[in-house]
Subunit: 252 residues, 2 copies
DNA sequence: CGTATCATTGACGTCGGTCAATTCGTGTGG
DNA sequence: CCACACGAATTGACCGACGTCAATGATACG
């Protein structure tokens, strides 16, 4: 199991903030270049995870906070009997692990979809750092507030849209989100490390029904999934199928 | 239409922060008593809304931020064809209207369930206020982060729980949330201004199915709804029906 | 009283779930 | 290079939870 590009496992260096791949996206975006060393001194190092591994699990105490540098993850919750809800697909630049009470136990889990490299912040004194750097605090608030928006969007899909609309909406949203973030070639396709089961667990569907829905969309020439990549063949008609609201494409 | 207690409409005075009913709950909780006048000078006044009125609507520019002082509201999103998803039940002490980009258009609407009194903050310079008061900024972050938790909880319900589990979970969660907040008599009942349609729109169900589900729970002696009040008759068995996770009762 | 809103209930339909078999794809060992 | 293993994708047959439609009550309010 490894990323599409170069494997991460084994590379043991620590990313310098000044050369950080997500300099423009992560928590540190509003931090002045010449203040960056304050954050860098605070940073506890990098962490590398293989695809399929959990970064943390619901019920554990929170020890660290993370910015994803490379690779994809997802956040999820489990019910007692094993039913799973995936709450968020995490892309490079996303900040994970924050919760209202940093002393409390974690209320959700996080798992790597691909091999992943993370920037690690110690939990202790994290609020101090924010107090000392109001810009950081405000940026954090905005990141979290954006999570609320995405989460309510998803809730609206799962609560009120048909399976077809949900899948179309999800794929299109993911597509735009990835395209905004990756400086990658601007083709009409993105990497697709999610299985149909992942998609189902994100949308409140079974993988079987996701499969049928994807086949419909494929048969109609709207999308294509091959080689672990998602191709958007007809964005307009896909947006129709999604009942997509173009406004909701803010800075994700 | 009016609140269970005294009607709000017509009372035109402005609540003093020092006598604020939600002093211990709202955004200002961490603000020192002797600093409170800074916030008070920032406050733009009170606003009163009748039950059923919208405070703001999706797509409008954001002008103000609010703390609910009295009464209940809900946040919701509409699809083009009118389907509605209720994202949050808003109680006194809750802060509403914040979004990642304060310049952007609102991505959701807010409506009063009962008559409501709000504390109004101007949107402009709100971030300045936060910059000047790091405690406020951090408190805001925590409030927003708590919204994420609640939203993901709801998502998990809607995505992965049966109608029965959803309804039981929702009622129990609301019950605890209200009880934590109101200094009210600690009986086993709370006010219930929500219609069955509201409950359905919050849980991704139709009002008809909510009705049937409520009847089941009532027939089994778990709950009772009468006189616009919800009575929890058997919290333990209701928690069973919900597959309720007792951990998730943090400081809501 | 008349009207409006909400709750309730029955008959019936369907979207999406369940179960299970088959195929595909990719990585592994011989 | 081939045989095999294992997870994921695919497909069909069937089913049931929840939605739709529509009628009837119950309450509240002007």
């Amino acid at each position: 199991m490894h990323n599409s590009s170069a494997p991460l496992i084994g590379k043991k260096y620590t990313v310098r903030c000044s050369a950080c791949r997500v300099r423009g996206w992560g928590l540190c975006e509003p931090i002045h270049d010449d203040e960056l060393d304050v954050v860098e001194r605070f940073k506890a190092g990098d962490k590398v995870l293989e695809a399929g591994q959990d970064l943390f699990r619901e019920g554990e105490p929170s020890r660290e906070l993370y910015t994803v540098l490379e690779g994809w993850m997802f956040l999820y919750k489990l019910l007692e009997d094993g039913r799973r809800q995936i709450a968020k697909i995490v892309l490079p630049g996303d900040f994970v692990g924050f919760q209202p009470d940093l002393e409390a136990l974690l209320d959700h889990s996080a798992q790597a979809l691909t091999d992943v490299r993370l920037c690690v912040f110690p939990r202790d004194n994290f609020l101090e750092l924010n107090r000392a750097h109001p810009e950081l605090a405000i940026r954090l608030t905005c990141l979290v507030a954006h999570d609320v928006e995405m989460s309510r969007d998803r809730l609206t899909s799962v609560g009120r849209r048909s399976a077809r609309e949900r899948v179309a909406h999800f794929l299109l949203g993911l597509f735009y989100r990835v395209r905004l973030r990756h400086q990658e070639p601007r083709g009409a396709s993105i990497p697709m490390p999610l299985t149909q089961e992942h998609i189902g667990d994100a949308l409140g569907l079974t993988s079987v029904h996701v499969n049928r829905t994807l086949r419909n969309l494929r048969d109609e020439g709207l999308i294509e999934i091959a080689n672990r990549r998602l191709h958007i063949l007809d964005p307009d008609r896909l947006a129709d199928a999604a009942g997509f609201d173009e406004d909701s494409l803010g800075r994700t």
